[in-house]
């Protein structure tokens, strides 16, 4: 980072902090200390105050904010430059999505967005908690893009600066030479996943005493509220009763008053405007969640989250400084202005893939308060999930995760990999749909949450690739015995019997 960027980051961060409610509370706290502390005099004021401030909870809230935001800002420093082949591939992909969206719109002969009448808005407001009843005929809607489409697009990306020799040495499907972490490095990073540690989600059945101990520690950790400590604790899994609090701490989500107001504002936006993309989300919920006996109860919550999500312009910031173009449209306002003005569509700038809903459903298990649920999901998206559908050289983006999966499977079980390749089976083709949905919809919900605990605690999506490779290794015997391409589906179709932690341990062992 150069001096200029550092300066910019510093001022942005301090502005962000001074505008937060935590800062206000911190200020009050200091004033309180000054008035109540008995050992305070003009001479020792500095030391005594500093001492007290350091150990206060309100100052920790501020360090958490700084830590979280600083870390967030430093992740994507080397996003793709738009002139490179990866940048071009991203642009191509965006154009494809826009075309798809436009063709849906013209096929149905519906506008992408229009204002609701006041009456319509009021009607919708009445049924806000039972939006599932609002759904009309959804047959005619289709997803903007399927998982196979983005998969094929990723496979088509070729680096034109590769020598023939390098090209021949690529054995997997991904031909983007992305840097893969060597397995040793990965193992070291995920040391807490080794067999030596007690893992929630697996070992509590063996030893209830340790489990109680862990729970007790968990309560302490929640109380202290220090991001780094919470993360360390969660690396071995969050205990079920504390999961909500721990997740909120890791993601640094505190619903403040302004957030509540903003939430209601977004709700009003739903009542004000009718978007075509809403119906696409509706359909996605209907086909992916309502048919699933584990998650159908969350139907109405899902609509609420997704409808607000489309209208939340907070997400636009995510795409700044990256070579990502947000879909645009031109409108002519009704105030007599004859010019066309650019607006983003949808307001949050994000076009979802088929099954996007599944990234929300697991969070519904953890939070019942719709406001908190919304902000947790939004934070999840801006820290992790947006990387699942952008093309970038970031090892955490979808291409990096795919390459990591292929690499782990090849190096940990080369025999299996080449057996499958001989039968013309591409392991990545199967694993891709797991990874892009972060395994949601494939696993038992309790197991899925264990996996997501680790995404948050290790602050990385890499665990998805590791786990995907683990699934193949776990089903090795069955896979090695197949002689026909068609059998592979039946072996890897149902993952509901899997224990996430056990499989992760298998890979790292």
């Amino acid at each position: 980072m150069d001096a200029e960027a550092q300066y910019k980051l510093g001022t942005e961060l301090s502005e962000f902090v001074t505008n937060s409610q935590a800062y206000y509370e911190f200020f009050q706290n200091v004033q309180e200390i000054v008035t109540t502390a008995s050992d305070l005099s003009l001479i020792n004021m500095n030391e005594v105050l500093m001492d007290k401030i350091k150990s206060s909870a309100s100052s920790r809230a501020i360090t958490n904010i700084i830590f979280y935001n600083h870390k967030l800002n430093s992740i994507d420093e080397n996003g793709p430059v738009s002139t490179t082949y990866l940048g071009k591939a991203q642009t191509q992909w965006e154009k494809k999505l826009i075309k798809s969206m436009n063709s849906i719109c013209t096929e149905l002969n519906m506008p992408l967005a229009k204002k609701r009448s006041i009456l319509e808005g009021q009607e919708l407001k009445k049924i806000w908690n039972e939006l599932g009843t609002n759904v009309s005929d959804l047959k005619k809607f289709r997803p903007i893009f399927s998982i196979n489409e983005i998969f094929d697009h990723i496979l088509s990306i070729k680096c034109n600066n590769l020598t023939d020799l390098a090209f021949k040495s690529i054995t997997g499907l991904i031909s983007v030479p992305i840097r893969i972490k060597p397995f040793d490095e990965l193992k070291k990073q995920y040391e807490k996943m080794s067999l030596e540690y007690f893992q929630s989600g697996l070992d509590e059945n063996l030893n209830s005493l340790i489990e109680q101990e862990k729970h007790k520690n968990g309560i302490k950790v929640v109380e202290i509220n220090d991001i780094i400590m919470t993360k360390e604790f969660s690396k071995t899994g969050c205990t079920r009763s504390l999961r909500g609090k721990l997740w909120a701490q890791i993601l640094n989500v505190n619903v403040e008053n302004l957030d509540k107001i903003y939430y209601n504002y977004l709700k009003q936006c739903v009542f004000d405007y009718d978007l075509l993309i809403d119906s696409i989300y509706y359909k996605d919920v209907k086909t992916k969640a309502v048919n699933d006996d584990q998650v159908f109860v969350f139907e109405d919550l899902l609509y609420q989250v997704l409808l607000l999500f489309t209208r939340d312009t907070h997400l636009l910031k995510l795409y700044e400084n990256k070579s990502i173009q947000i879909p645009k449209a031109y409108i002519r306002p009704k105030n007599g202005d004859q010019r066309y003005h650019p607006v983003f569509y949808p307001p949050n700038g994000f076009l979802p893939f088929e099954g996007f809903t599944l990234l929300v459903t697991p969070i519904c298990y953890v939070y019942s308060d719709p406001i908190l649920l919304y902000y947790i999901f939004r934070k999840f998206f801006v820290t992790h999930f947006y990387k699942l559908s952008i093309i970038s050289s970031d090892p955490q983006s979808i291409i990096g995760l795919c390459a990591l999966f292929e690499n782990i499977l090849q190096s940990k079980d080369p025999k299996l990999f080449f057996h499958l390749r001989k039968l013309d089976i591409q392991p990545l083709r199967i694993a891709f749909k797991w990874i892009i949905r972060a395994f949601s919809g494939s696993l038992l919900s309790s197991q899925l949450l264990e996996l997501w605990d680790r995404i948050l605690a290790f602050n990385s999506l890499e665990i998805l690739s590791v786990f995907a490779a683990g699934v193949f290794m776990y089903r090795r015997q069955n896979l090695m015995s197949i002689t026909n391409k068609s059998h592979v589906e039946s072996i890897l179709d149902d993952l509901t019997s899997l224990k996430v932690v056990a499989i992760l341990q298998l890979v790292f062992a």
């Binding site: 150069d2 965006e94 013209t106 967005a113 020598t163 992305i178 840097r179 312009t313 636009l316 569509y345």
Partner: protein, 221 residues
């Protein structure tokens, strides 16, 4: 801190980036994975920052030559040695990134009156057809700008940014229903003050968001 005030571009002439060979056998298949080129400064003989866009170069070494050296041999002085540009030379990360090498990173900070720079680029991986660096810019801190003036500007600027106090808002559920309209108003009002609210701009224009089709030609603007 606007760039045009504090930084000035340094003009220079550049030679072609040449691949190095062992001996004179440039026609052989052997690839040294090493390139070299020189830069000659024209009018300003100092710089504080080097900026460039990488194109698959793994490591960079920079040497400088001074104009009036006391040393009669006038030897090259090393200011950067095998600086890593790609996290892994076989991987994409960093391969197309824009880098800034500032004076703090120089090995020998005590170099003045520089007339010539020598860049040595290395790419040990056989993966890549070609490598190099593009779009090189040398920048110098504007010495005409005294530190007093910078500080003065800065304090003027920071006065403008008022610290916004956040009042505690009592019974929130009651308030929030009424505050819908206020939200929009305050959104307008807070345009000068950077705040949480301004981070989430409104998506409609004067209450209009009648979108019919997306613009296909979206790379402009």
């Amino acid at each position: 801190m606007s760039e045009d005030k504090l930084w000035v571009n340094v003009n220079f002439d550049m030679r072609n980036q040449l691949k190095l060979f062992v001996g004179e056998r440039s026609k052989t298949q052997f690839d040294s994975g090493c390139k070299m080129f020189d830069i000659f400064l024209k009018d300003t003989f100092r710089f504080d920052e080097i900026k460039f866009q990488n194109f698959y170069t793994g490591y960079i070494t920079i040497k400088v030559k001074e104009r009036f050296s006391k040393d009669t041999n006038n030897e090259w002085k090393l200011i950067l040695k095998r600086y890593k540009l790609m996290a892994n030379v076989h991987g994409e990360t960093g391969a197309n990134q824009i880098f800034t090498i500032s004076k703090d990173m120089f090995l020998d900070k005590d170099v003045n009156n520089i007339s010539q720079l020598r860049f040595i680029l290395q790419q040990p991986s056989f993966y890549w057809k070609d490598f190099g660096i593009d779009d090189i810019k040398l920048k110098a801190l504007n010495t005409d700008l005294s530190i007093e003036k910078v500080l003065e500007d800065f304090s003027k600027k920071s006065e403008k940014v008022k610290i916004k106090k956040i009042e505690k808002i009592p019974p929130i559920d009651v308030l929030s229903t009424r505050l819908q309209n206020l939200w929009i108003l305050s959104n307008e009002a807070s345009k000068q003050v950077k705040s949480k609210i301004e981070d989430n701009p409104r998506f409609d224009i004067d209450g209009c968001y009648d979108v019919n089709l997306l613009s296909v030609n979206h790379s402009q603007n």
